[in-house]
C-alpha cells in the first residue's frame, strides 16, 4: 500500500470532515434544543460565504495584508450570519413554537428557498471566484505536498472551535442552561432559565460556526454561488444524523466519519459516485444503529 497516498486521503478526509463538523453543529444543536431540523441552515452557511467574499474583495482592493483579510472577512461573516440565524428564529420559528412540528419544518423549507432566491437575485447564479485567503506558511513548505497550509488552517481552526464550544457547554452557566433545556425544557423554565435566550444563543452559535466554515472552505475551493449552502447543508445534515442528531460530539464524529468515507471511497474506488457513498453509508449505519453513532435514544441531546 502506498503510504503517502493513504496519508493524503486521510488528511483530505479530515479537512472535509472539519468543515462538515462546523456546519453540522448548527443542525445538531438546534435539533437538541427545539427538535427542529433547520433546513435553512445551509443558507446561513451560504450567506456567510458571500459576506466573506464581499468583505475580502473590498479589503484586498484596499490593500490589506492577506492574513488581516482572512481574519476580518471571517469575523464579518460570523457576525452577519449570526444576525441572520437569530432573526430567522425570531420570525420563522418562534411564532410556531406551540404548533405541530410539521409547521415549523415547512417554515424552515420556506426560509431556505427564500434565502436561496434572494441571493440568486442579488448575486446571479454564476460561480464567483473566491480569493485564497490562507497564505502559504513558510515553515510548512517541506510537508506541503501531503497537506497544504489551507488544510492545516481548516483543521486547526475547527479543532480550536470544538474545544472552546465543549468548554462552554460543559462549564459555563449558559452551557448548563443549554444542556438542561435540551433535556427538559419545561423543567429548565421552572429553574428560571430564559428559554428564549437559550434558543437564540443556540442559533447564534450554530450560525457562527457555519459561517466560519464557509469562509475557510470557500477560500480553499476558490468559488461560490447561491447553491453551495444546499449541497454543504445536506452533507452536514447527513453527518449530524450519522453521529446522532442532537449530540454535539456525535456531530463531530459523524462529520469525520463522513469526510473519511468520501475521501477513501473516491480515492480508492471511484470519484464518480462521491455523494452516493455518503448516502449508502448513512443508510447502513442507520439500519444497525437508528439513533446514530453517538445518539442516545430519544432524550439526551446537547
Amino acid at each position: 500500500m502506498d503510504l503517502q497516498y493513504f496519508a493524503e486521503l486521510f488528511l483530505g478526509g479530515l479537512t472535509r470532515g472539519s468543515i462538515y463538523a462546523l456546519i453540522a453543529l448548527g443542525y445538531t444543536m438546534v435539533y437538541g434544543i427545539i427538535e427542529l431540523i433547520n433546513f435553512a441552515h445551509g443558507e446561513i452557511y451560504m450567506i456567510g460565504a458571500f459576506t466573506g467574499l464581499i468583505v475580502a474583495t473590498v479589503l484586498t482592493f484596499a490593500g490589506f495584508p492577506t492574513l488581516a483579510v482572512l481574519v476580518l472577512a471571517s469575523v464579518a461573516a460570523v457576525v452577519y450570519s449570526s444576525c441572520y440565524g437569530y432573526t430567522m428564529e425570531k420570525i420563522a420559528y418562534k411564532p410556531l413554537r406551540g404548533a405541530p412540528r410539521l409547521s415549523a419544518l415547512i417554515s424552515a423549507i420556506g426560509m431556505s428557498l427564500f434565502l436561496q432566491n434572494y441571493v440568486l437575485l442579488a448575486q446571479t447564479s454564476d460561480f464567483l471566484p473566491f480569493p485564497s485567503l490562507v497564505p502559504d506558511l513558510p515553515f510548512w513548505e517541506p510537508y506541503a505536498h501531503i497537506i497544504s497550509s489551507q488544510e492545516i488552517v481548516i483543521i486547526s481552526v475547527t479543532a480550536l472551535v470544538m474545544i472552546l464550544l465543549n468548554l462552554l457547554i460543559k462549564f459555563t452557566r449558559m452551557g448548563k442552561a443549554m444542556r438542561a433545556t435540551s433535556q427538559d425544557r419545561e423543567m429548565a423554565m421552572l429553574t428560571g432559565v430564559d428559554v428564549n435566550r437559550v434558543i437564540s444563543l443556540t442559533f447564534i452559535i450554530g450560525s457562527a460556526t457555519a459561517a466560519l466554515g464557509a469562509v475557510l472552505i470557500a477560500s480553499h475551493i476558490g468559488q461560490i454561488n447561491f447553491y453551495v449552502g444546499f449541497i454543504a447543508g445536506i452533507k452536514a445534515f447527513v453527518a449530524a444524523v450519522l453521529g446522532g442528531i442532537g449530540s454535539v460530539p456525535g456531530a463531530v464524529v459523524g462529520a469525520l466519519v463522513l469526510g473519511w468515507t468520501e475521501s477513501f471511497f473516491t480515492g480508492y474506488i471511484s470519484s464518480d459516485y462521491e455523494d452516493v457513498f455518503a448516502f449508502i453509508f448513512l443508510v447502513v449505519i442507520l439500519i444497525f444503529k437508528p439513533s446514530g453513532i453517538l445518539g442516545r435514544s430519544e432524550t439526551q441531546k446537547v
Binding site: A177, R179, Q183, D184, L190, T191, G192, D194, T299, Q300
Partner: protein
C-alpha cells in the same frame, strides 16, 4: 402572600381550569387534593407561568404575575417541584443542584446551601458526580426538592411528592417538608392524591374536581368531612 382569582387555563381548546380562586398566607402549608385529571398540576403550572391562564389574576405579594415569563416568577421566589420529579437525567447530581441556583449570584451562600443539602440528604453527597437519571425514585425526589431549595424559595409548590415512592421514603419526604416550613418559614403549597398524608401536615386544604374548587376548609375539618372521607380517604 398568594391570591388566585378566577383563573381559566386552556390546553389549546381544552379548558383545564374553569375558574379557580384560592389564597395562601405566608408561613402556611396549604394542600390541594383531587382526583387524577382534576387540574391540580395545571394550577401549579399556571402559577409558574409555564401554562399561563387565559383570564383571571394571580397576585403574589401584592403584584400581578399572571403575565410574567416563568423566569421572572422564579426570581420572585415561587419555585416548583413538578410532578414526576423531572430531574435532568444527564446532568450530575451536583449540576442539578447548580441549576436550582441558576438565578442566584451569591457564590458563597450557594456553597453553604449545597453543604446544608448534603447534610440533609447524605445520599446525594455520595452520588454528587452521578448522572441524575441513575438515581432511584426516592433519591430523585430528594434531589428534586433539594434543587428547588437551592433557589431559596419563598413559596414552594410541590406536585405529588409521594407519587410512586415506598411508604418509608414518603414519610421521610413529608418530614422534610414540615421541617422546611418550620425552620425556614417557607410557605408551602402541596398537591397530593394521597389526601390523608397531605391533610396531616397541612394547615388548610382545598378540594378540586374537574377544573373547579369544590371545597375549602381547615385540614382538621377536611379530615372529618364525610364527602372527603368517602372520595379521597378511602374510608
Amino acid at each position: 402572600m398568594l391570591q388566585i382569582e378566577d383563573i381559566k387555563t386552556y390546553y389549546g381548546s381544552i379548558q383545564a381550569l374553569k375558574g379557580i380562586s384560592l389564597e395562601i398566607s405566608a408561613g402556611e402549608i396549604i394542600c390541594l387534593i383531587g382526583a387524577n385529571g382534576a387540574g391540580k398540576s395545571t394550577t401549579l403550572m399556571s402559577i409558574c407561568g409555564v401554562v399561563p391562564p387565559r383570564t383571571g389574576r394571580i397576585v403574589f405579594e401584592g403584584r400581578e404575575i399572571q403575565h410574567l415569563p416563568s423566569n421572572r416568577i422564579v426570581e420572585l421566589g415561587i419555585v416548583q417541584v413538578p410532578e414526576g420529579r423531572r430531574i435532568f437525567p444527564y446532568l450530575t447530581v451536583a449540576e442539578n443542584l447548580d441549576m436550582g441556583a441558576f438565578l442566584r449570584r451569591d457564590k458563597a451562600a450557594i456553597e453553604q446551601d449545597i453543604d446544608y443539602i448534603y447534610e440533609l440528604f447524605p445520599i446525594l453527597a455520595k452520588r454528587r458526580h452521578q448522572a441524575g437519571g441513575t438515581l432511584s425514585g426516592g433519591e430523585q425526589q430528594m434531589l428534586a426538592i433539594s434543587r428547588a431549595l437551592m433557589a431559596r424559595p419563598r413559596l414552594l409548590l410541590l406536585d405529588e411528592p409521594s407519587l410512586g415512592l415506598a411508604p418509608l421514603v414518603v414519610r421521610q419526604i413529608f418530614e422534610i417538608i414540615a421541617k422546611i416550613n418550620r425552620e425556614n418559614n417557607t410557605t408551602i403549597f402541596l398537591v397530593e392524591q394521597n389526601a390523608n398524608l397531605a391533610l396531616q401536615v397541612a394547615h388548610r386544604g382545598y378540594v378540586m374536581e374537574t377544573g373547579r374548587i369544590t371545597l375549602s376548609d381547615s385540614a382538621a375539618h377536611l379530615l372529618a368531612n364525610e364527602d372527603v372521607k368517602r372520595a379521597y380517604l378511602g374510608i
